[in-house]
């Protein structure tokens, strides 16, 4: 049944049109070359049009804050591939990693985004229409003073999860978790996402694919990073259209001041996802060798492991949090992004897993050669 979606936390700060996209568990990938066939775009009526090279939508002057980061450099890549822009600029603390080649004409500025004065000076120089950000109040201030038309702010779906309670088909109406209820915030959102895959592949290498904790009926959302980047740019485009339009959009159509969840729109069973990764990494095994460990037993073992490691004074390699995590249900209803932004994942989960595993294995090889 379609549900009416209330605008959550209207944080519009005129004249800047602001949208917050909330993403979830990104899978890493580099150098993808995918050409979207169709991509619905206008925020008011999601009509479909082909992103042929001559009809790429325009985003004016675009800025990506954190554009050398994991998600950021994908946003830059899609900007170059799917949109026309008058200029693209990137602000990051360090601009050494993930740089585009000179020929792409991306301008890189090194700046600390908490430094309001520095930001304003960069903004006055770059003159962005659209800003894609991962940042703070200083950014909003800089946008306001320099007349930026659209700002897309990145958050993580972890703001809705306390890492132990189930989230079943959650949408933007669900509450955000703050303060004490929120655990592992930073590690969860930034570090783990890129590390998870590496760990999973290691589990396969160590031959530990034969244990399943829980009944594997728990659905989980995983999101391929290019789809997240795509969601950001759709939001930016929709905001620009809103700012150009003379009428105020209807409540159920508006994009400015709204939060959007973006996933691959394809929840899968937690252990199925692990097995798909193992299969992509070359595992020849099915499920005949798998033993099911009930959640309760897993919790006891996790507790014993924690006690043991506490006694010898080391951080535990195996703990109850991991058991909880592998038995947890966490998936989202992204109807709002589909309806208002015309969002549709560009890369299927299947393809995302293949590319991500390939990328991780290649990265490993590169790192091994360096050593």
């Amino acid at each position: 049944m379609p549900r009416y979606i209330e605008p959550q936390e209207a944080i519009s700060t005129p004249p800047v049109q602001l949208v917050r996209t909330t993403t979830h568990r990104q899978l890493p990938i580099l150098n993808a070359s995918h050409h979207p066939q169709t991509s619905p775009i206008t925020p008011t009526k999601p009509t479909t049009f082909t992103m042929a090279s001559e009809k790429k939508p325009s985003l004016g002057s675009a800025m990506v804050i954190g554009g050398c980061g994991f998600l950021g450099h994908h946003v830059v890549r899609l900007l170059l591939r799917d949109y026309t822009t008058t200029s693209i600029s990137v602000i990051d603390l360090r601009c050494t990693r993930n740089r585009r080649p000179e020929s792409d004409g991306v301008k890189y500025y090194e700046a600390d985004i908490t430094d309001a004065d520095k930001l304003i000076s960069v903004f006055s120089e770059a003159r962005p229409d659209v800003v894609n950000v991962d940042g703070t109040a200083a950014v909003i201030k800089a946008c306001q003073t320099t007349g930026v038309k659209a700002l897309v702010y990145t958050s993580s779906a972890s703001v809705m999860s306390d890492n132990k309670s189930d989230l079943i088909n959650a949408d933007e109406r669900w509450p955000t978790v703050r303060g004490e209820n929120q655990t592992e915030y930073y590690s969860e959102t930034k570090v783990c996402d890129t590390m998870v895959l590496y760990h999973m592949i290691n589990i396969y290498r160590q031959g530990r694919t034969g244990v399943q904790v829980g009944n594997n009926n728990n659905l989980f959302d995983f999101t391929y990073v290019e789809n997240v980047a795509h969601g950001h740019l759709l939001a930016a485009r929709a905001l620009l259209l809103t700012s150009q339009s003379s009428t105020i959009p209807l409540d159920h159509e508006r994009v400015d001041g709204e939060a959007f969840l973006v996933t691959n729109d394809s929840p899968v069973y937690f252990w199925d996802f692990c097995r798909a990764i193992w299969a992509a990494a070359g595992s020849p095994l099915g499920t005949d060798h798998v033993r099911v460990l009930p959640r309760g037993v897993g919790m006891v073992l996790g507790f014993l492991s924690e006690c043991f490691f506490a006694a010898i004074g080391k951080p535990p390699t195996f703990n109850r949090q991991r058991i909880v995590y592998s038995c947890m249900t966490r998936y989202y209803d992204i109807s709002k992004a589909k309806k208002r932004l015309g969002y549709k994942p560009l890369i299927s989960l299947d393809e995302g897993v293949r590319r991500s595993v390939k990328w991780t294995l290649e990265q490993e090889k590169v790192n091994a050669e360096k050593k």
Partner: protein, 468 residues
């Protein structure tokens, strides 16, 4: 199955026996047709209904009286059409005009047809078709118009397929052609039924706007039948699985049935199952639009049977060896669960989606896509009947108290353990203080353990002494 075998089977599967008994004894139809008030021609129609249909006869007879006769006649007309189409003894020159003109033939008083081949199982229906025509004249105008319209479309579709040499000789090519075929044999029937339901005000008129939902209902049933009957159709030299799918796994259609290619064949069948499974959510959505209990039962029973059959055929090598069917006990259980409400039918769909996902094999190229499709079904059910309410989740968060971390828990357990040790030591100490002879206790243990050694040594030495 012999009687003894059957008894043995039910002894091992008591739940199935229970379902059968429960259905036979306790099932109370919403409407029961009253044979005492029926005319001879009406009775004759139900006679042919029972004769020609195993699965639909019962549910049709329990339909709301408003639609009882129209749907019974709709079924018989299509069955008559089907009998002509199936008949290989009829020359195409005679067959084609019959098929294309059947919607007019069914208006000719007293029309009967006795040229069907002797082996046609439903030839009797055509021999006495005048009874059906007689009853058709009494059907309300709007219902009659729907029946006639669908008969015309279906007859023309059948004639086209009968003339289509490629279809008859090489079988279905692309997935698109496969779905078009399913549209002609099942989608059209669905269209007619939905129009009848809405016309009689027993279903939400919105279903006419979303005809894609009706299409999914028909596609789902037909695709499941095509997957299940693959072996039987292969023996009959008919092929409905599209080349676009099976050519990914084997070079020739017959290779699919070779035992050496079983794993490839299973992977092919799982792509077919995945293709069928994509209609499941829309089927549930359609059923949400039904307003009458008897109509709900009528549409829900075949759908539940279909998803259970998909679970049965999924990764089951038996489909390439013989014809398989869900057991009678399971069928009765499904009928019990499909004659209640949407929520129960959703539970059935979720249960079978999970069973399919449990059988899914990571080595299968369709593994993650099948997992995602099962997830989609679960997610769709969640949108109709949400388990979480955002307001309650919000309230729950506020009440939550800060929890301990691992180290704290460790200290807590350690201190509890230390307390036990301390109490134990104190008790022993107090007992000793009051004169308990622990030295005796330890001596006792000592003699019990070491004493055996000393005594045996003593025994040996005593023997030695005696000999001296």
């Amino acid at each position: 199955m012999g009687a003894a075998q059957q008894i043995a089977y039910f002894l091992l599967h008591p739940n199935e026996l229970r379902s059968i008994v429960q259905w036979k004894v306790w099932h109370e139809p919403v409407h029961r047709r009253d044979a005492s008030k029926e005319t001879p021609t009406e009775k004759s129609c139900f006679h042919y209904l029972k004769l020609t249909s195993r699965s639909f006869s019962a549910v049709i007879q329990e339909l709301n009286p408003e639609l009882l006769m129209p749907i019974c006649l709709f079924y018989l007309v299509l069955r008559g059409l089907d009998t002509i189409e199936d008949d290989m003894t009829l020359d195409i020159k005679e067959k084609e005009p019959l098929l294309r003109d059947f919607h007019n033939i069914m208006e000719q008083d007293g029309w009967t047809f006795d040229k069907s081949g002797p082996n046609e199982k439903d030839r009797e229906l055509l021999v006495h078709f005048d009874d059906i025509i007689f009853e058709l004249k009494k059907v309300k105008k709007p219902y009659y118009a729907i029946i006639k319209d669908i008969t015309e479309k279906m007859g023309n579709g059948m004639a086209d397929y009968a003339l289509n040499a490629e279809h008859n000789n090489v079988g279905v090519g692309t997935i698109k052609e496969y779905e078009l075929y399913c549209h002609y044999v099942a989608g059209l029937v669905g269209e007619g039924l939905t129009r009848l339901f809405v016309e009689s005000n027993l279903a939400n008129p919105q279903l006419l706007v979303r005809m894609d939902l009706t299409e999914s209902m028909g596609q789902f049933l037909q695709k499941v039948n095509i997957i299940r009957d693959v072996h039987e159709d292969w023996l009959d030299k008919r092929r409905f699985w599209p080349r676009e799918i099976w050519s990914k796994y084997v070079d020739n259609w017959d290779d699919l049935f070779a035992p050496a290619n079983r794993e490839k064949a299973l992977q092919c069948s799982s792509e077919m199952v995945l293709n069928g499974l994509k209609h499941a959510e829309e089927c549930l959505f359609y059923m949400a639009g039904i307003r009458d209990q008897s109509v709900f039962n009528f549409v829900a029973i075949p759908q539940s049977m279909a998803i259970a059959t998909l679970d049965l055929v999924f990764r089951n090598p038996a489909i390439f060896e013989r014809n398989i069917k869900i057991t009678k006990g399971d069928a009765c259980q499904l009928m019990i669960e499909s004659t209640q409400n949407l929520r129960v039918v959703c539970d059935v769909f979720r249960k079978y989606a999970r069973r399919i996902h449990k059988k899914n094999d990571p080595r299968d190229p369709n593994f993650l896509a099948i997992s995602a499709q099962c997830g989609k079904i679960e997610q769709f059910i969640e949108t109709i009947f949400p388990t979480q309410d955002p307001n309650k989740v919000r309230a729950g968060l506020k009440q939550e108290e800060p929890k301990m971390d691992g180290l704290e828990t460790f200290y807590l357990v350690l201190s509890a353990f230390a307390t036990f040790v301390l109490i134990g030591v104190m008790m022993v100490g107090i007992a000793w203080y009051f004169g308990a002879r622990f030295d005796q206790v330890f001596k006792g243990i000592d003699t019990k353990l070491a004493g055996t050694v000393t005594s045996s040594v003593a025994a040996v030495t005593s023997v030695v002494h005696e000999e001296l």
